[in-house]
Amino acid sequence: MSLSGEPLDAARRQKLYDTREGAAGGDGTPAGGGCGCQ
């Protein structure tokens, strides 16, 4: 049983929140680094 769901679905959703919310990131992924595309 996966806690975070299907990886690609979780990744695209996480990317949305990381780029649209100042209080995003840190869930085992960098907050605000990397892609600046959205």
Partner: protein, 403 residues
């Protein structure tokens, strides 16, 4: 004479070939050790076995207005209209019994109003080069996980991100160890990201390159409580240094003009996350998620998410999602900044806001005979909306193969 000599050479060559063939035939016929798969294919530890290939395409359409955008009246707010087409691919392969590879490749094709509006100050040229109209971005992300023993894994991750005005590299290490026959798993991750990108002023003039680094460390504990219940708790610390904005966001000033964002050059961010998953007796599953966030820019956030999954038939299930997020704004957020402020931003993403996401998807997992064990197909829709004038519609669809 010359003809006889040629015939003689041909006869000799034929005899050698026949002798070689009959020697092999004799050897096989006498039961010599047949060549193994290992001899034919090489050492088994080197052979890649593809376990799964997944692809997903997501289309985003965003509408809204924010004071950081110049796509509107002088003192804003300007349009935040944006579309993104995002294909993703993931390939998982094993190499022997201990080594597992994951290759993840997301691409983004972005059309955005906000950077395009920066161009209106310049004749003929394109401020963010052609990226101001449409930006193509892609990432290569490779993680190799080595099983040290039955309970311990170690992983290395490396990757790069490319888009027209932006380069980024990342690398990381992680490890996990299972206790109590796998009922408890403790893991830790270190990840370093380095971004290197063009610096533009708010009129679209490029003034060279700038950079930022992002360092993240996290620890997580996963516990199986019962055969149908699992929980996870994680903490992540992220430290960022360098240029922490996109360089061309604007801030309306009390003088009636626009000024650039002025951001701190460091940011320390903490996130505490709890997750739980529970199988339900009617062929369903419930997942809950909560995250508390705080950083030294003055932002405090709380996010909660519930996902409910219900199997309708052996190959079909439905999934529904709801998420609520609340955050305070950065200490220096404003929509009209006094000239005396040393720090200022009008970025709507850094404002006080509530956001909600609702969505669902239908999933087909079809078992197959043959080389493909399982075919996965899903279609989903989500709507994201905020209290500070931003909405987004998302369509997503995926295919996957298990071998």
């Amino acid at each position: 004479m010359r003809e006889r000599g040629t015939i003689s050479i041909l006869r000799t060559a034929l005899a050698v070939v026949l002798a070689a063939i009959s020697s092999d035939a004799f050897a096989d016929g006498q039961g010599a050790r047949p060549r193994s798969d290992e001899e034919i294919l090489g050492r088994p530890g080197r052979a890649l076995h593809v376990e799964s290939v997944d692809t997903r395409v997501t289309a985003f359409e965003q509408h809204g207005y924010g004071y950081q955008s110049q796509a509107g009246p002088l003192l804003g707010p300007g349009s935040e209209y944006l579309t993104v087409l995002e294909p993703q691919m993931e390939v998982v392969a094993t190499q022997g019994d201990r080594l597992r590879h994951r290759l993840y490749v997301p691409l983004d094709i972005v059309t955005a109003a906000s950077p395009d509006a920066v161009d209106k100050h310049r004749d003929k040229v394109d401020a963010i080069s052609s990226a101001s109209r449409q930006n193509y971005a892609g990432t290569l992300d490779w993680t190799a996980t080595y099983k040290l023993d039955a309970a311990t894994d170690a992983s290395m991750r490396a990757g790069l991100h490319l888009e027209e005005p932006f380069r980024s590299w990342h690398g990381g290490l992680s490890a996990s160890h299972a206790f109590a026959d796998g009922a408890t798993v403790l893991s830790g991750t270190l990840l370093q990201v380095y971004d290197w990108f063009d610096h533009f002023d708010i009129l679209g003039f490029r003034s060279g390159r700038t950079a930022r680094s992002t360092s993240t460390g996290s620890v997580a504990l996963t516990q199986i409580l019962t055969p149908t219940t699992m929980v996870n708790l994680s903490y992540g610390l992220t430290v960022q240094r360098g240029m922490l904005g996109n360089t061309w966001n604007v801030v309306p000033l009390e003088s009636g003009k626009l000024g650039p964002e002025l951001l701190p050059t460091t940011r320390v961010r903490h996130a505490l996350v709890g997750r739980a998953a529970q199988f339900l007796p009617w062929n369903g599953a419930l997942k809950v998620y909560y995250r508390a966030y705080v950083d030294d820019w003055g932002i405090v956030g709380h996010s909660a998410e519930v996902t409910l999954t219900q199997r309708l038939a052996p190959i079909v299930y439905l999934s529904a999602l709801y998420r609520f997020h609340r955050q305070t704004g950065a200490d220096f957020f404003t929509t009209l900044a006094p000239l005396t402020w040393d720090l200022r931003t009008a970025d709507s993403d850094l404002a006080r806001l509530d956001s909600q996401t609702i969505g669902g998807k239908v999933v087909f997992d079809v078992p197959l005979d043959g080389e493909i064990r399982l075919l996965h197909v899903d279609f989903g829709y989500e709507r994201y909306f905020r209290t500070n004038d931003l909405t987004m519609n998302m369509l997503t669809w995926a295919t996957g193969y298990r071998f």
